[in-house]
Amino acid sequence: MDREIFVKLWLATAAISLFPLCSIASSNSQELLQSNIDIHNKASLRRGARLYMNHCAACHSAKFMRYERLSKDLEIPPEIVMSDLVRFGATRLSDAIPAAIDPKVGEKAFGIAPPDLTLEAKYRGTDWVYSYLLGFYKDSNAPTGYNNHLMANVAMPWVLASLQEATSEAEFKDQMRDLTNFMAYMSEPIRPFRENFGKYVLGFLMVLLVSVRLLKNEYWRSLNE
């Protein structure tokens, strides 16, 4: 009886303590679109890589991402990487992705130097990046003619405006999902492998769990007799 009250008491303590923790977990101030990326979808990553190299790498560097890695992970033959993706002063497969413009020049041109994007998807989260890319709208007061829902008075020119106009809304969303997916990959190239490999480690530990439990029963049997 007393024991029961005691257990209830500490369950109550745990429940009360967990309550504010939940509020931590669900405290997202901004309404973001869901990116629903699939980091294991290589075709999507390859499309994203192309979009990134064609439209973003002019201004943004990705100084921790090497072409070589990209070629291997996304299964793009090195010749194709060399001819289609390596540019802006990069000459070798082992180079990291540079920006075409010098950050100082970028700062002069846009007021803010275009930031390095290698870890952007980790810093802001993929939903944020996706929402940002879909968040540009026409604004005649903005110097570039475009503004952004997530970043008021954004300094980045909306470089995909013509692409957005030329494609259907659904198709453009898919492309932005591919681009976001690629940025997620770039922020942590090991992630697809990590998620696959984790299954084997956890599977092994489950088997180990059963065997150590059986071992314990074996040892403790004599004690209980």
Binding site: I190, R194, W220
Partner: protein
């Protein structure tokens, strides 16, 4: 000569020169532990497991990490991308740090629950608190090393706090950070302390903690002294040899722990922004302050106390008062064994006031932790001081409520009907 004989000869040879057999017996095969350990008793062993993980993964990281302002952040990305299995080692170290604190908080809570700090285990508790303080230092030093933007600004906030100490503060701050600003000099010394000095002292602390424990023996959920009833050989009737019983049964919680741990390493390595805070994906930048500077989650209860004072008074800065309160909050824990005047150990036999105070204490600590993770204006200004008051009330009122409350009679033997 058979293999078995050879082995036994070897043991004999060593034992003649080094007391391995006696040590094994004293601490393992003839160390009698209460037979009724429960869930709460797993966390000591788990703390050893995470500590081993931190040391091993940490040593690997030192092979590639570069402690300079220019290279630190880059070297971490190098580990994550170019060092083979570097990502796994780094995640094990980083997730391990948070798991270490989860385990230690539960380990300490067990102590509060079963009166494990009470006579005759005061020294075990003191060594434990000493370890806990060192762990906080170790955690802080480690968090600065990757030199992300939160590393930088977090270090600045804490070092400026040192600078706020009257008279000696300014000089002390410069001495600790090794320069007029946080930079390469700071990283160099933090690295040395984080990988060498603090872990060395921790190892000594853990050693003393366990030797002291084995000297008096473990407490148990009933708070019954098992040494009071012994058999003809002098062994406790309610005890069982630690080896093989607990060495084998501890494997289960260890494996369950590893499952949770590796689930995080492989599927949740950033801990939802709580193990690695998002600004730490940007390199340190002295021109760009993160929107909201918060320490890692395991410091947040103390951070909330630090911020709870907002007005200067008695000629001292609010910051200094915050510092005094936090130091008090840590210091008072050391005195716990002498604040508890109860005749019984376990919460099972203590009175209602003790139970309610422990519950209030636990809840206030968690709420303080939430406050500390949020911007200062997230909750009304009275909340943090109120919770801080509850925190201190648990300790400062303890001599009174533990002395006056009605306790229940403790049975002499484990498993006997409680009266």
């Amino acid at each position: 000569m058979s293999l078995r004989e050879a082995a036994s000869n070897l043991v004999g040879w060593v034992d003649y020169r080094l007391p391995i057999v006696k040590t094994w017996k004293t601490h393992m095969s003839e160390y009698y532990a209460p037979k009724n350990f429960n869930f709460w008793y797993f966390f000591g062993v788990l703390a050893l497991v995470v500590f081993a993980n931190q040391v091993l993964s940490g040593i690997w990281l030192t092979m590639f990490y570069v402690p300079t302002a220019e290279e630190a952040f880059k070297s971490i990305e190098y580990i994550m991308r170019d060092v083979s299995s570097g990502w796994a080692i780094r995640y094990m170290h980083e997730v391990g740090a948070s798991f270490f604190f989860i385990v230690i908080y539960l380990h300490i809570f067990r102590g509060l629950l079963y009166g494990s700090y009470q006579r005759p285990r005061e020294l075990i508790w003191i060594f434990g608190m000493f370890i806990y303080c060192l762990m906080m230092v170790e955690g802080f030093l480690g968090y600065v090393l990757p030199y992300g933007n939160m590393s930088y600004w977090g270090a600045k906030v804490i070092l400026n706090l040192v600078g706020a100490i009257p008279i000696i503060g300014e000089g002390l701050q410069i001495w600790v950070q090794g320069d007029f600003v946080v930079g390469s000099a700071t990283l160099g010394r933090f690295f040395a302390l984080h990988v060498a000095l603090v872990p060395l002292i921790l190892i000594v602390g853990i050693f003393l903690h366990i030797v002291a424990l084995h000297q008096v023996g473990s407490n148990n959920p009933e708070g019954i002294d098992i040494k009071a009833h012994v058999d003809a050989d002098g062994n406790p009737l309610d005890g069982i040899p630690f080896h093989p019983y607990y060495t084998i049964s501890d494997l289960t919680p260890v494996v369950i722990f590893l499952i949770l741990f590796f689930a995080c390493v492989f599927y949740f390595p950033g801990g939802g922004g709580y193990f690695i805070e998002p600004p730490n994906y940007l390199p340190a930048d002295k021109l760009s302050t993160p929107e909201h500077i918060a320490p890692v989650w395991y410091f947040t209860p103390f951070y909330a106390m630090l911020r709870s004072v907002t007005i200067d008074s008695f000629g001292l800065d609010a910051k200094v008062w915050g510092l005094i309160i936090v130091s008090g909050a840590m210091l008072v824990l050391f005195f716990l064994p002498w604040l508890d005047r109860s005749a019984v150990l376990s919460m099972r036999y203590k009175g209602w006031p003790s139970k309610i105070m422990l519950m209030l204490f636990a809840v206030s600590f968690v709420f303080l932790g939430v406050l500390g993770a949020k911007p200062a204006d997230w909750a009304p200004a009275w909340v943090a001081p109120a919770l801080t008051t509850i925190y201190f009330a648990y300790f400062l009122a303890m001599p009174v409520y533990t002395k006056l409350e009605k306790t229940k009679p403790v049975p002499g033997r484990i498993g006997a009907k409680s009266g």
